[in-house]
């Protein structure tokens, strides 16, 4: 993970790295971050201002749910 750029440091979670942006140009933006142990977190944008952003975050607790947010896996299935 050390070669990745740190997206955000949260005291309780440690370094978070941006894994994938699922919705970028359509509001609300949705993206996935992972921590140093490859645990995935789904971020859902609640509000975004010039001085403050708020996201609702859900830790993806089960490995099988990773398929739902893993575009690389879905692409390979489709091909």
């Amino acid at each position: 993970m050390s070669d990745k750029e740190i997206f955000m440091y949260v005291k309780e979670l440690g370094n978070l790295y941006l894994y994938d942006v699922l919705l970028e140009f359509i509001y609300p933006r949705v993206f996935v971050c992972e921590d140093s142990f490859n645990s995935k977190f789904l971020f859902y944008e609640m509000s975004s201002n010039h001085d403050k952003d708020v996201w609702l975050v859900s830790r993806i607790s089960k490995l099988e749910y990773y398929d739902l947010i893993d575009r690389k896996k879905i692409d390979s299935k489709n091909i």
Binding site: K11, L22, K52, D53, V54, V57, N78, I79
Partner: protein, 291 residues
Amino acid sequence: MFSITKNYKTDGDEIELSLNAKEWIKMLPSEPVFSEKEIVDDINDETLQFARENNVTTVAIRLFAGSDRHHISCNFINDVSSAFTSLTNSVSGIKRKQPLEVFMKAGSCIVNLFFPDQINLFNESDAIYEMGIVNEVLESKNLSEGLSKVKDQKKFIESYKKMLDAIRKTGSCVQFTTASPNSTKTKKIELSKEEVLRRYDYIKDINHIEKETLQVKGKLIAMDVKTKRFKLLLDDGSIKAGEVGNELLESTSFELPNSYDAKIDVEKYIDIKQNCTKEKVVLKTLVKSFC
């Protein structure tokens, strides 16, 4: 579920995690954020705007429902853009100098294709004509309906097959929205995933279609107006059966059994090994025979 707040400050951003996210959860939308109609309207507006501002005929290909995400693979984009380039080329039988250009927004499920050249004095391009024919084929249930206007039919079928295959693999429904620089509204065609699959299965073994028109004499032995089917017993004892053309049903009355001179269109679907895999027979005219 928890919330993370990031406060942007000049002396370093502050990031807070709060386990009490109930208030935020209440604000989550209970319905999809955008309705289907809003998305369709947006695509219409954007496609039209893009075509008018850039003076290019534009096609927006959107995948929806069935694909659970707003994402399409690079393979899909490559396959669809190369298929559409040769599809439109084959309409006039002339190879375009440049392939269709792709424009898409990141994270979007919409691929915009636009034609890079051929704008004439009246701001019209061959692209409008070519897309008109492609849309005609997309709109018709049977491939052959628009195909008669295509110059290079073999290439058209090959490209059409490639495009359907790319869409089929995504498991999604598809919507084609076309706009030209001078148009005031878009042309929309929607195909369900079942329809994409049906068309692909129908066309996958076809290499080209051969058409011929036959003048035959025979006795009309069956005619079902509801299902538009007929049976004609020819003088040599063989039976020709098939569909009845729409114009014929509207304009003629029939007597059964009676002898007729008939004009029949026969379409033969030829596969790669030059075998005829299907034959479509359409009855075009019936004239009472007096001999």
